[in-house]
């Protein structure tokens, strides 16, 4: 990946207003993240009338759960079983969120902070890269 390409990606992240972008091509991977508060100016929604929707504030205080290794993402212990967690579910520290399998190494990912599952960023059975965002807890 050359510098020009990286610069383009940074511009893209800034313009779009998203907080994070991950691009993978072949053996190369790059993740561009920008701080949500302080430092970089944030886009303020035009219409700030009345209470902000719950989701908008959720992302602010969200704790992000990432994959510690590349592998396959599983939402349940085995095929056909109930998922460990569902969207909107309350989780406590130590609750299992998912399993990442890498070459028959099973890794139960547990919540490091209490919270509510605000987003599940990966579909069951999908491949994930190391450090990829799996869940957002609010």
């Amino acid at each position: 990946m050359d510098l020009r390409k990286i610069k383009k990606l940074i511009e893209l992240v800034e313009e779009s207003g998203i907080s994070e972008l991950e691009v993978k091509s072949g053996d190369e991977a790059i993740r561009i993240a920008r701080p949500l508060a302080g430092g970089v100016a944030r886009r303020v929604p035009e219409q700030e009338v009345g209470p902000a929707p719950a989701q908008a504030t959720a992302t602010d205080s969200a704790s992000v759960v990432r994959a510690p290794m590349a592998g396959t993402f599983y939402q349940a212990l085995e095929p056909g079983a109930e998922p460990f967690v569902r969207l909107g579910q309350r989780v406590e520290v130590g609750n299992v969120l998912c399993i990442i399998e890498s070459m028959k190494m099973m890794n139960e990912i547990t919540a490091q902070t209490p919270g509510t599952v605000a987003a599940i960023d990966v579909a069951n059975g999908e491949a994930v890269a190391s450090e990829q965002v799996l869940f957002r807890l609010s």
Partner: protein, 312 residues
């Protein structure tokens, strides 16, 4: 330990002492005794003459000096739910580094993704060990392959030649499944893993009939090995390979792995998550990923089920 496991364990202790017991004493809730490899003759469950049960002292006597030093605890059970589940439970309370657990019979032997692993009484080796690994969690996948190689190396040193690996770490003998390995990460922060291995020494017809794949055992290929010796040597070999992995990662083992890989250079199919890909096995990467040459170029996989693709 569940009540049922306890009942089976007590039955087995009695059986070992008396060599035969009325079948009526077998705990009914456990289902047929035959699925655990137990034979019934004239209303009695009979222990085979050459059957060897596990003894902690005998396993310990076969550990290498380094592994004997490393060992903190060695538990041998006549019956257990699953040796991996046992150590994973213990890990909730503290470190399991240096802990080896063996069972003569597993009630709920576990394979990958909820698959059952049959472990009939004293005809299989079911062993798990807990170990802290000095490596980053991101590279740990390669450890899974290293453990497979440790098993091949150990069996070879005991005269069992030609054991091959199916990526990532199934053990094959003459094309049938001889053994399986499952690793579970206790905690990514401490990088402690539980390594479970199941090996078939002898499979009865009943047990074979319950398995939905081609299986292999050591005895039908003419290999008679002591379970206690095998347990000690296998644990030693696994710890030795974990230490090698800590020093140099999987990369230095790559060549040896490929030399033992059953599907090297062969057309295969891999089912990984929702993906099904067909290609020719080029080999494995320095981190242990499977590399396939596909119609659209080379692709690497970190998880999935590989099978040989039958020639059309």
């Amino acid at each position: 330990m569940s009540d049922l496991t306890q009942q089976i364990a007590e039955f087995l202790e009695q059986l070992i002492e008396h060599r035969h017991l009325p079948v009526s004493l077998w705990p009914q809730d456990a289902g047929s005794h035959e699925q655990y490899g137990l034979r019934c003759v004239d209303g009695s469950i009979v222990l085979g003459a050459d059957l060897e049960v596990l003894e902690a002292s005998a396993v310990q006597a076969n550990l290498s000096a380094t592994v004997a030093d490393w060992l903190q605890q060695l538990d041998v059970y006549r019956a257990l739910g699953s040796t991996n589940a046992y150590l994973m439970d213990r890990a909730q309370q503290g470190s399991v580094d240096g802990w080896i657990c063996l069972a003569d019979l597993q009630i709920q032997g576990r394979g990958r993704r909820g698959r059952r692993w049959m472990s009939p009484f004293a005809q299989n080796l079911a062993m798990s060990l807990g170990i802290t690994v000095g490596a980053s969690p991101a590279t740990l996948g390669g450890l899974s392959l290293a453990v497979g190689l440790a098993a091949v190396d150990c069996l070879d040193s005991m005269g069992v030649r030609n054991v091959q690996l199916k990526w990532p770490n199934d053990l094959l003998l003459a094309g049938g499944k001889l053994g399986g390995i499952l690793l579970e990460l206790v905690s990514a922060a401490k990088v402690q893993v539980v390594i479970g291995i199941g090996l078939n020494l002898e499979l009865s017809e009943v047990v074979r009939g319950e398995v939905d794949q081609v299986v292999a055992d050591l005895s039908s290929h003419g290999y008679r090995v002591s379970r206690n010796v095998l347990a000690g040597k296998l644990a030693s070999s696994i710890v030795d390979y974990v230490r090698q992995f800590e020093r140099g990662g999987f990369a230095p083992m790559r060549e040896a792995y490929e030399a033992h890989h059953a599907f090297q250079g062969r057309p295969c199919r891999i089912v990984s998550g929702h993906d099904e890909v067909i290609g020719v096995v080029v080999g494995v990467s320095e981190t242990g990923a499977l590399i396939l040459e596909t119609g659209t170029g080379r692709r690497s996989f970190v998880s999935g089920d590989v099978s040989l693709r039958e020639a059309n």
